[in-house]
């Protein structure tokens, strides 16, 4: 996945910066990280001990912002506006992109109305521009825009940071997938066997028919020999070319 590769360097960078600093300085690092246009993964930074220390201090807002960016959406931000600092426009943009990713988690087909509501966008033109420029060109989402049915079909969406409970559900999905493919393998195996047996039967049947034809030909030719010359008219030759009449 190319997004992950693009991000890997940035993540390393920020991790180094964040682990080197503490307190308020950390806040500026977080600010920079959340406004960076190509960075969509924050769980590594969240996992750092220096960041976790921010909990409870007066700089805990930065921690909350980071958590919001890791797991939350734009509507979360709007509902908790009071406890969170004002976001710069870059951060707003990023948060909206991450919102699209979250929405893509649940449905593959997102109706325009829902998108417009979640992203606070009033007209379709703006929504489509946002989707095309910010999401598809950034490479985090790939899909098709269906204007007639007013929906966005998503074929691929980059992953967001995992919430702790999501690992279990992912394992469940994987085991379901494994089960389905195992069943499929078994049924294909059966189909192959069926095809083989049917071709065997067909060959046997063909052989039996040919044997019978040979027998009949022999018996008819014996009859011909016993019939007198006069009777060897055209009919006689016609009878000998019959296949299955007898």
């Amino acid at each position: 996945m190319d997004i992950e590769q693009n991000q890997a360097e940035l993540i390393d960078n920020f991790v180094k910066q964040a682990s080197a600093q503490k307190g308020t300085a950390l806040g500026s690092v977080i600010l920079e990280a959340t406004s960076h246009p190509s960075l969509f993964a924050f769980s590594e930074i969240l996992a750092l001990p220096t960041v976790a220390e921010l909990e409870g201090t007066e700089n805990s807002v930065y921690l909350k912002v980071l958590q919001l960016f890791a797991h939350g959406t734009w509507s979360d931000y709007k509902s908790n506006c009071s406890s969170l600092p004002q976001l710069v426009p870059d951060q707003v943009l990023k948060l909206k992109q991450l919102t699209v990713l979250t929405l893509a988690e649940t449905n593959k087909v997102l109706p325009y109305d829902e998108l417009m509501m979640e992203l606070d966008v009033t007209n379709v033109r703006e929504l489509e521009d946002f989707l095309i420029n910010e999401c598809m060109y950034a490479g985090i989402v790939r899909g098709k825009l269906d204007q007639l049915r007013r929906c966005f079909e998503i074929q691929f969406a980059a992953g967001r940071d995992l919430r702790p409970g999501q690992l279990g559900s992912m394992i469940q999905t994987l085991s379901n997938w494994l089960g389905t493919s195992d069943n499929l393998l078994v049924s294909i195996q059966e189909e192959i066997k069926w095809a083989d047996t049917m071709s065997e039967l067909d060959k046997k049947h063909r052989k039996e028919v040919e044997d019978r034809v040979e027998e009949v030909k022999k018996s008819v030719s014996v009859k011909l020999q016993t019939v007198s010359r006069l009777k060897l008219s055209s009919e006689g030759s016609k009878i000998s070319t019959l296949n299955l009449v007898e």
Partner: protein, 325 residues
């Protein structure tokens, strides 16, 4: 014959040449065996696998006939690429090559393929022989060092590579007399897109390996192995995640993100529109198969009725039997 060639020429052979040579050989062989094996000649004429021998030819054969022809292609620097071939009339007993035919053919091919030159000649047999040198020398006035492509028509099921060898001629001094001898060279097979498609098509007609007797089984086997591979990969990811959950493996977020994005693509095809399209196409296929069966049955029926009518003719001299319809 020496066993190595060190002149540094690389040879590229196109499958078309191999198919042409085998076709020529098969035709000549089957045309010699006409009466006792009519069915086998028709089956031999349709065989167009690369290294095939006509199966019915064993009846009254003392020695399989040798066919001769010319190979043409392009030589660019040290690379010789053999594109095509055509047949020649050559009588090995009198050692006479039909020059006028060769020239006419050359002219015709020059018009269509202006870049191709006569690069050498081909023949069939199991090994290069001394008598081949005469033909070789005869061609030397067209191309100063012709190639000799030899196809071995015997089918050897244990053999893995193509029974085609390319010989060059080298001037060696043997017993004080400079002589031309044949030297084996290696070659590679080069295909054009059209050749690849046809070779692929022929290869899939008869599945190799005894496990799959029919084409359907072969195709299903292909799908089966593909899904099996997918299955094993998913299993690996699954075990990885389980290990991560248990804590045996340290959590790596970027990997988890990739897995989650992958899982989000499932179910890959599940929408109403897909179901509709699938059912429609399924029904169409069933309908067409049904229709084909119908046509088959009605034509067989028709034949049967004709035969009945012929046998039990109303105006038969024997009388007493009525027509069927």
């Amino acid at each position: 014959m020496a066993s190595s060639s060190s002149r540094g020429l690389t040879f590229k052979l196109h499958p078309l040449v191999i198919v042409n040579i085998s076709d020529h050989y098969t035709r000549v062989k089957s045309q010699l065996n006409l009466p006792p094996s009519l069915t086998s000649t028709s089956s031999a004429a349709t065989s167009n696998n690369n290294n095939n021998n006509s199966n019915g030819g064993e009846n009254n054969q003392q020695k399989p006939p040798r066919v001769y022809g010319c190979v043409i292609g392009v030589q660019r620097g040290r690379t010789v690429e053999i594109f095509n071939s055509f047949e020649l009339i050559y009588d090995p007993s009198t050692r006479s090559l039909d020059r006028s035919f060769l020239e006419k053919k050359q002219e015709l091919y020059k018009k269509v393929f202006p870049h191709f030159y006569v690069l050498g000649w081909y023949s069939t047999g199991s090994d290069a022989q001394e008598s081949d040198m005469h033909f070789h020398k005869a061609l030397m006035d067209i191309n100063e060092s012709p190639l000799y492509v030899l196809l071995n028509p015997a089918i050897n099921p244990a053999q893995k590579d193509l029974p085609v060898t390319i010989y060059e001629s080298e001037l060696h001094v043997i017993d004080g007399v400079p002589q031309l001898i044949f030297v084996r060279s290696s070659y590679t097979i080069e295909t054009v897109e059209a050749e690849r498609i046809s070779v692929d098509h022929v290869a899939h007609l008869k599945p190799s390996g005894g496990s799959a007797a029919t084409q359907l089984a072969a195709q299903l086997t292909g799908i089966h192995s593909a899904i099996k591979m997918l299955n094993s990969r998913i299993r690996v990811v699954h075990q990885y995640l389980v290990g991560m959950q248990k804590g045996d493996i340290p959590c790596e977020s970027s990997l988890l993100r990739q897995v989650s994005s992958l899982l989000r693509r499932l179910p890959a095809i599940e929408s109403e529109k897909f179901q509709d399209d699938l059912l429609m196409e399924y029904n169409d296929t069933l309908l067409i198969t049904y229709l084909a069966m119908f046509t088959n049955c009605s034509s067989t029926m028709n034949e049967l009725v004709d035969k009945f009518n012929t046998a039990y003719d109303r105006h038969s001299r024997r009388g007493g039997r009525t027509a069927f319809i």
